[in-house]
Structure formats: C-alpha cells, structure tokens
C-alpha cells in the first residue's frame, strides 16, 4: 500500500520567506510526527499529533515554527521568516496509534535557505 508521502521533495527559499511543507500519512494512522534532520545533529523531534487531541509542540525550536493537521490526516509544517539555520531535511512519520511502536517515515523535504 501507499506509504507516507511528503511534498515538495526539495525547497529552496530566500532568507525571510515563509515556507509550507506537506505530509500525507498512511491512511488510517492516527499518530503523526514531524522531525528535523540536520547535518551532524541526527533526527530532532518537532511536534506530535494523536487523533483529535491537542498536538504536543514541545519540540518546536521557536515560535516561527507551527504545524496543523486537518481532518486527522494531512499535516502542514509552516516555517515563518526562514533563517539559514532552518536548512535541513524535514521528515514526517506516522504510526497506527498509541499501542503501535513502529513509525513509518516519509522521504523528507530538503529545505535550503539562501
């Protein structure tokens, strides 16, 4: 079946612009995560959605970052006033629910801020 998809696969933007990154999780998966993967830093947790519960935003690095999940499915990560240090690969993952343990990752969006 279809896996997690993300768009765009690559995004180049100028410093100060806003960007939106999209994630389509696996159908029926209630949990959705956003991570950031920077060179030499590994994967860093950003935000977590579980069903209709309020999202856990404890990993967002600043108030320039926000995310929403519409209808319990598609999610959008927005970065406002982008900075060069925001350059990274942004990965989305979904899993079947609280009792599931495996997170299925998308291919990521490679963001470059010039």
């Amino acid at each position: 079946g279809a896996g997690v998809s993300q768009s765009p696969s690559n995004k180049v933007t100028e410093k100060g612009k806003d960007v939106e990154l999209r994630c389509d999780p696996i159908s029926g998966h209630t949990a959705l995560y956003w991570y950031r993967q920077s060179l030499g830093q590994g994967l860093e947790f950003l935000i977590y959605f579980q069903g209709n519960s309020a999202p856990d935003k404890s990993g967002l690095p600043s108030d320039r970052f926000s995310a929403e999940r519409t209808g319990g499915s598609v999610s959008t990560l927005t970065i406002q006033r982008t900075q060069q240090e925001d350059s990274a690969v942004y990965l989305c993952a979904s899993k079947g629910g609280r009792s599931s343990y495996e997170q299925y990752f998308g291919p990521g969006t490679r963001l470059t801020v010039t």
């Binding site: 995560y33 590994g42 947790f45 404890s58 990521g108």
Partner: protein, 114 residues
C-alpha cells in the same frame, strides 16, 4: 551530555565482514530500543526493535541491549554492499507534554565494499 550517543563514523568494511554498531544512553527511563536504516535521500525504516536486555536475532542482524550498562549494539553478519546505509539507534521516551517520542543517535554511515 546528550541522551543518546552514537559514533557517526563513517565506517567502511569489505563484503562479508561482521559489522558492530553501538550506542550509549543516559536516560534510565528509555523503554524501547530500535535500530533504523536510512538509505541516501530516503526516510529511515525500522530494522530491529526490542524492549528488554539481551539479544534479538533477525536473519543476518542481531540487536543487543544491556540496560545495566546503558548500551545497545547492532551486529550485521556477512555484510553485503546492499547494507550500505546510515544506521540510527533510537529509544523511546516521553516528551514534556507526556507523549511518546523517539530520541535518535546521530547515525553511523556504513559502506560495504564489494
């Protein structure tokens, strides 16, 4: 000290070699221990999962957990060129908001030469 430490390598071995990848951690609350494999320009995929001390074997792969030493390992026997990838250890923890998240090591880039 970071919660999870992993030597980022890179590591280059000849085909057929036994590979040992290791991570140490500092948080005694970690409950589940995983190894993810990430090919270039792809998202991570779950390779091994365990929650108790001891060994778990799956084909050419063996995951080892030593909770008393806070140390986990992944062994790859008869390594193949197709094993060339970045290997990330991951451990489950709770976010400040009380939800589950994965804490990743930085990843070890492995190249198996034919």
């Amino acid at each position: 000290q970071k919660e999870v430490e992993q030597d980022p390598g890179p590591l280059s071995v000849p085909e057929g070699a036994i590979v040992s990848l290791n991570c140490t951690y500092s948080n005694s609350a970690f409950q589940y221990f995983m190894w993810y494999r990430q090919y270039s320009r792809k998202g991570p995929e779950l390779l091994m999962y365990t929650y108790s001390s001891g060994n778990k074997e799956d084909g050419r792969f063996t995951a080892q957990v030593d909770k008393s030493s806070k140390y986990i390992s992944l062994f790859i026997r008869d390594s193949q060129p197709s094993d060339s990838a970045t290997y990330l250890c991951a451990m489950s923890s709770l976010t400040q908001g009380g939800s589950e998240k994965l804490v990743f090591g930085k990843g070890m880039k492995l190249t198996v030469n034919p």
